[in-house]
């Protein structure tokens, strides 16, 4: 090896998760290299050599040259989604354009990448990811994605009024119950399809998988979306020991989705069954750590330093 081993951090160090990991790496005296795509275009010059090189391939960040063989792992965290799709928003945002390099880097970087681009993009379409989750052995909720208001109403009737709605993509939305009062707004479906799901009562469980380590938290609340408790609602979050077979299933799911780090959203039904709603491919876990005392960040940093899941 031609230099000290390092961990590559992609994103702004002002972003809480990346700052958190950076701090933990510093405590372990592990060298971190930061690629900040949040900076205005041109503020950070990045070049990267791959393919048949006469000299060992390297990554160059401003004037710093990092031989690729010294990169143990990469952790990426971008505060906004990397999409190359949308027209005028994209054009108006030089920073987003500047980030077009990120997917390519994530595809070609050596070592452990948390998480690889294509695999991490799986939850950009929740129903697409849901199909993968079902193939990997989890129960998933019955879902309707539609742009037809009649179908949404019929689905509401078929589910006896127990329906929630949420975004189809990974854009964060508050999960809400569909009520007859919402029907007047369903005409907007013709401009933007919506995902409707059967409401499944039960207890929320968030499972963080870091490589092969599993950290589960149980969340009890009266809110439909535990992330947004109503003012009147209580919310308790505590660490939970999952049955061993479920822990193994969560690790298998994470591996099957090609991820090294995942935040799995489960609900335990009144019948004791587990239903999986989605898998967050870039989970913000310090919130759960604060409530449960679990050392998820520590496990992540250990994995990054190890360079294997």
């Amino acid at each position: 090896m031609t230099g000290p081993a390092s961990v590559l951090l992609i994103g702004s160090l002002k972003e809480p998760m990346l700052a958190y990991v950076n701090q933990k790496l510093a405590r372990k005296n592990v060298s971190a290299v930061n690629l900040d795509f949040q900076q205005p275009h041109g503020a950070c010059r990045i070049s990267f050599k791959i393919g048949n090189c006469r000299t060992p391939p390297f990554l160059k960040v401003d004037s710093r040259t990092v031989p690729l063989e010294t990169i143990l792992s990469t952790y990426v965290r971008l505060s906004h989604q990397m999409t190359t799709a949308s027209d005028e928003v994209e054009r108006a945002e030089p920073i987003l354009q500047h980030r077009a390099l990120v997917p390519h880097l994530l595809n070609v970087l050596p070592g452990l990448v948390v998480n690889p681009y294509e695999e991490a993009s799986g939850n950009r379409s929740k129903p697409y990811q849901q199909m993968l989750i079902a193939k990997l052995g989890f129960n998933v909720p019955k879902t309707l994605v539609t742009s037809h208001l009649e179908q949404a109403k019929e689905w509401f009737e078929a589910c006896r009024g127990r329906v929630i709605y949420k975004s189809i993509s990974s854009v964060r939305s508050v999960v809400r119950r569909l009520n007859p009062e919402d029907f007047s707004r369903l005409e907007h479906l013709r401009h933007c399809p919506v995902q409707f799901q059967e409401y499944i009562p039960g207890i929320d469980i968030r499972v963080h998988v870091v490589g092969t380590r599993v950290f589960a938290s149980q969340i009890e609340t009266r809110s439909t979306d535990y992330r947004y408790p109503d003012q009147e609602s209580f919310r308790t979050i505590r660490a939970l020991e999952l049955p061993m077979d479920l822990q193994e299933k969560c690790v298998t799911l994470t591996e099957g989705l090609g991820l090294a780090l995942a935040g799995i959203d489960l609900r335990k039904t009144v019948d004791g069954e587990y239903v999986c709603f989605e898998v967050n491919t870039s989970p913000a876990f310090p919130f759960y750590e604060r409530h449960t005392g679990q050392r998820i960040g520590e496990a992540l940093v250990e994995m990054l330093c190890r360079g294997t899941p």
Binding site: R45, G51, H104, L109, R124, S125, S147, P193
Partner: protein, 311 residues
């Protein structure tokens, strides 16, 4: 029914549509914008009882997903937002992401063959350079030329990329804007300006350049006429033979990448090494000889009908 997600004036779509109709197939040509914003759809996940059959509307006709025997997606059929004025940029961005998310899921849920099935996050411009592909390249005895990726490029970036056959420069973020060029020698051709967007700079090895179009288990193509080569696929090709091993390597790679219809540029060096310059998942046929066009259309029809197997 065969569905072609495209604009009706797309020349390849017209050929396919005509050929399929002649063979007695029902063909539906529409684009995603029509489905998402004009006609509508309903999609149940996982598949439900008969009363909940997933479908989209083509005009007023319902097309159940279970009736689709084959689908081909074209760039001309990509999603575009309606030009309504009342939406703010953020709303339009949200609408686009939601519809795109629905499209990815729908395509992966179809029970029929889809040419070419998209991947989550979109297939990257240089997907064939990925870590996974590189492993496969080794198995196929194909090589990847040295490449520099950069978020902007200056003379110094270009100088560090040494290509005996020139340096191929292209944009990473937007194919529409792609300014492909082959610089003969970096010193002579590069001016003092900076390319302000993410680019790739590829060292082109010296040798014969081949351009192939791959469709199912068939591969057609030949040598690129050098004087005409500007770094893109849009160049004249002289039909010629090449090593059967090279043809098989290209077919194996397209299968590995999950591509049913694609094209590639390969350089064969004087010492017999094969370097892959580029791989494209949306080939255009306009610059191919009519004989090649007819062969490709015929093969695509077989694939859409499900009568032709994959390699």
């Amino acid at each position: 029914m065969i569905v072609l997600m495209a604009q009706t004036d797309d020349p390849l779509v017209q050929c396919l549509s005509h050929g399929l109709l002649q063979q007695g197939y029902a063909v539906c040509v529409c684009d995603w914008s029509q489905i998402m914003y004009d006609h509508g759809f309903s999609w149940w996940v996982p598949p439900q009882a008969e009363a909940c059959q997933s479908y989209f509307l083509n005009g007023t006709t319902a097309v159940p997903f279970s009736d689709i025997e084959g689908m081909m997606v074209f760039p001309s059929g990509s999603l575009a937002l309606p030009a309504a004025q009342e939406w703010q940029a953020a709303d339009r961005d949200y609408m686009y992401k939601e519809a795109s998310a629905a499209i990815l899921g729908i395509l992966h849920s179809l029970p029929c063959r889809v040419i070419n099935l998209p991947v989550a996050g979109g297939r990257q411009r240089l997907f064939f350079y990925s870590r996974r592909s590189r492993e496969f390249f080794k198995k196929c005895r194909l090589h990847l030329p040295l490449m520099t990726l950069a978020n902007s490029a200056q003379r110094e970036t270009v100088q560090s990329t040494e290509g005996q056959g020139g340096i191929r420069v292209g944009s990473l973020d937007d194919v529409q804007r792609e300014r492909l060029a082959v610089l003969e020698t970096e010193q002579d051709e590069w001016d003092e300006s900076t390319i302000p967007y993410p680019v790739f700079l590829q060292a082109v090895p010296a040798g014969e350049i081949y351009h192939f179009v791959l469709v199912g288990d068939s591969i057609l193509g030949g040598k690129v006429i050098h004087e005409n080569f500007n770094g893109s696929f849009n160049t004249k090709v002289e039909m010629s033979d090449c090593s059967p091993d090279l043809r098989q390597a290209c077919l194996d790679l397209s299968k590995f990448c999950g591509l049913i219809f694609s094209e590639c540029l390969i350089v064969e060096t004087p010492d017999g090494l094969w370097f892959c310059l580029d791989w494209n998942d949306s080939p255009k046929l306009s610059h191919w000889a009519p004989m090649v066009q007819r062969a490709v259309v015929s093969k695509l029809i077989d694939l859409l009908r499900g009568t032709s197997s994959l390699p």
